[in-house]
Amino acid sequence: MTRNSRVILSLVGVAALAAVPAFADTYRTNLASEILIFGVLALALDILVGYAGRPSLCHGAIFGTAAYTVIYWVSTGGSLWLGVILAVAAATVLAAVFAVLAVRTTGAYFLLLTLALGMIVWGVCLRWTSVTGGENGMRATLRPDYLTSPGAFYYMVLAIFILSAALMWRVVHSPFGLSLRGLRDSESRMRALGYAVPLQAFIGFVISGLFAGLAGVLFAMFNGFVSPSSVALSQSVSALLMVIIGGAGTLFGGLIGAGLITVVADRVSVVTDRWSLVLGLLFIATMMVAPDGILGFFRARAMTQGGLPDESAEQRRT
């Protein structure tokens, strides 16, 4: 894509997203908010999965920690906006701690470690009943009066989504983003070139955690409720599936994945409450049929048909 067509495409996308509340009823507007919230999470996770080449299974935990923090803060009488800042900070610090422990590993070990770390958070949320409410979770009304209507809330989420997406786009297209891609493609070469590989991965992890935390805060405001299932493995898995279905390393593919998974989850919940069964089957099917996701699939096709090769469509090593 040329620069101009990219700008036009983004403007059309933003205009379409901005028009949603005008055409959708309350229910669909809320669904759209949810998609954008998980979109922020998926984009954040893609920095790590698609660019740094480190698929994490603990982003649900980081996301959920932010949600827990803001709800706990407000339910003990704190102000919302300070709570938001604290929650994002908590998620970022948690991501930094996890990053210190995990960045020296790659591949299966990285998955394994992030999974175990995420499980600790889940275990703590489940058992530390005096603070987290245990299995019952916690409830608090977070939205101030002017954000209670679905439309107003949607526009706030949209604004935050656009801002975070622009920032993340900036990050992955900066020299730092390029060096992250270098990590994904060949860590030993990056080391030979004099890059501090663990430091690069650490920074990538922390940035990713910060935005995941932001998504968690939005989710808490959206739902007004958080329970251990928000930090459970299935949360991390569904975020990862969003990234992979959309196409890892395409950044905005994450929004498509988020849309797809959220809509499917919503439709499935009408028919049956066996969502985790469907999610698992979807995951297996994706891994068998299209491990490069939808955007990856089309880009690969565009390349074979002589279209301009995009930098992200080159053969990915995972």
Binding site: G107, A116, V124, S130, L277, G280, I284, P291
Partner: protein, 285 residues
């Protein structure tokens, strides 16, 4: 109380070792972290419980649970993992999907209640140890795990199959080039590892009871064991199980709300200094 806790830790470590040794064998040879291993454990437990109720035989329950999960493992290995495109990472991710599916199926079939595998009269009751009485079954557990350790060790050290596995852990490609059917080797190892999960499930079902999130708990603890012990190392798995068994048991008594920290704190510390675990070997790239 201290002796009692110690013996409890040992029995918990016994379960962990049986489950984690299967996990680490699969991980060591194939680089596949089978994240459905916990679900295999739980399913094995439920199947063992069914068999025990139907036949009244605990031995049959153990054998049936292990055999059923071995077959499931064979099916998963040849039906799913081989068709997943891309590298090991995609296989690991698909095993997460499998874990979700199995877990939900278990919930559909058996519901959310807590069950327990019935024990034969022989293994019920306590045994007098001179200064205290201790449940016979827990001693039995410790015995089984020692037998499993000895069996696996003998197999790995003394048999041809074992030496091929050890060679495969070091370099599967070279083993392939020596004319050994690696696909068959992988299938057999995956079956063996799965059988251990099933066996652990039946034993664990009698000791720790069966309930829907038990798979996640055993999986995380097995992960910790393997991370501490190192990929594919039997001795590492044994030492890791002992460590985790003690930390989990004592942690739960002394800091009930924070028991996860007690277990994973030392693991994190160890990893900061030895990313591949105590006995881990570098993966040949």
């Amino acid at each position: 109380v201290l002796t009692f806790l110690t013996l409890n830790s040992l029995s918990y470590a016994a379960i962990l070792f049986i489950v984690a040794s299967g996990f680490t064998m699969i991980f060591g040879l194939m680089q596949i972290v089978n994240l459905a291993h916990g679900a295999f454990y739980l399913l094995g437990g439920y199947i063992g419980m069914l068999i025990a109720h139907e036949t009244g035989s605990f031995v049959l329950a153990l054998a049936g649970g292990a055999a059923a999960i071995a077959l499931l493992g064979l099916g998963v290995q040849s039906g799913m993992f081989r068709f997943v495109r891309g590298g090991e990472l995609q296989q690991v991710l698909s095993s997460v999907g499998l874990a979700l599916v199995l877990n939900d199926l278990i919930l559909i079939i058996w519901g959310g209640d807590t069950f327990s595998v019935p024990l034969p009269a022989m293994l019920q009751g306590g045994v007098q140890l001179g200064f205290m009485t201790f449940p016979v079954f827990r001693l039995f557990l410790i015995g089984v795990s020692i037998a499993v350790f000895a069996g696996l060790w003998l197999m790995l050290a003394k048999t041809r199959f074992g030496s091929v596995i050890r060679a495969g852990v070091d370099d599967a490609e070279i083993v392939d080039s020596l004319g050994i059917d690696v696909r068959r080797l992988f299938a057999l190892t995956f079956m063996l590892g799965s059988a251990l999960a099933g066996l652990g499930g039946v034993l664990g079902g009698a000791f720790l009871t069966l309930y829907p999130t038990a798979d996640a708990e055993i999986l995380v603890f097995s992960l910790a064991v393997v991370v501490i012990g190192g990929r594919g190392s039997l001795v590492g798995a044994a030492i890791g199980s002992l460590l985790i068994g003690f930390l989990a048991t004592f942690g739960q008594v002394w800091f009930p709300e924070m028991s996860y920290f007690v277990v994973f704190g030392p693991m994190a510390l160890l990893l900061a200094f030895r990313p591949l675990g105590m006995f881990g070997k570098r993966v040949s790239a």
